[in-house]
Amino acid sequence: MIGLVVFSILSVLIRDLLKAAISLAVASIFLAIIFFRMNAAYAGVFEVSVVAGLITVLFITAIALTRSDEQVRESKYHLFIFPLFFVALIIIDILVMKNLLGRIPAITSPETGTFGEVLWKERSFDLIGQIGVIFAGVLAVLALFRPRSKSPQGDKHE
C-alpha cells in the first residue's frame, strides 16, 4: 500500500511525461498486488492487464504522437507545496477515520458462494453497459481521427 501511494505521488510530480506514465504503471502493479492479497483474484488480473498494460500503452502512444514545442513549465514551488499538502491530508485523514471507527455499524450480508462465471448472470445488465461503453470509446476515437476534408468550418466560429 505504501508503494502504491509513493508511486502515485511520483507520477504526479515527475516532469518527464514518459517517466510519469511508467510510474503510473508501477503504481498499478502495486495495486494489483494489494488486490491479490485481498483474495480478489479477478480484479487483480484485470487491473494488471488493463490498467498497467492497455492504458499505459495508450499513454505512451499519445506521448509519442504529440509534439510539444516548448517544455511545459510547471512551477518550481510544487516541490514545497506538495509535502505540506500531503502531510495536512494525512492528518485530516487520520482524524476523520478515527472518528468514524465507532460510528459505522456492520451489516453482514449473506455469503453468495458462487463463482465469477455464475455471477455474470446476476449482473448481465452491466455487460450490456460495458458493450455500450466500449462501442462509445471506439466510435469516439474513430470520429475524432477521421480524415478531415478541408472545410471552411473552422472560420465560422468566433
Binding site: 502504491l4 501511494v5 492504458i55 499519445a62 504529440t66 509534439r67 510539444s68 453482514t108 449482473r123 476515437v141
Partner: protein
Amino acid sequence: MNNFWILNMGAVALLIGIGIYCLLTMKNMVKLLIGIEIIAKGITLALVATGLAKNNLLLAQSLVISVIVVDVAVIATALAIIININRHTKSLDVRKLTKLKG
C-alpha cells in the same frame, strides 16, 4: 466495520487527494489525465476493500471490472481529444486553451 476497512478507506482518501491535487495544479494536459487515473485507482481500491469487508467479493469484483472498462473508454477518448488539440496548438499546455471566455 473492522479496522482493515478503515485503513483501506484512509488510503483511498489519500489517493483521491493526490489525484485532486494533480488536477488542480498541473498544467500539462497529459498530467491531468494521470490525475484522473489516480482517482480511478482510489475508487477501485475503495470498491474492493468494501467488498472484502462485506464478504461479498464477487459482486465487488464485477463492479470493479465494469469501472475499469469505463475508465479505459474515457481515457482513450480524452487522449484522442488531446492529440487533436495538439495538432492545433502544437503544445500540451492547458494555459493555452483560453479561446472561450465569459
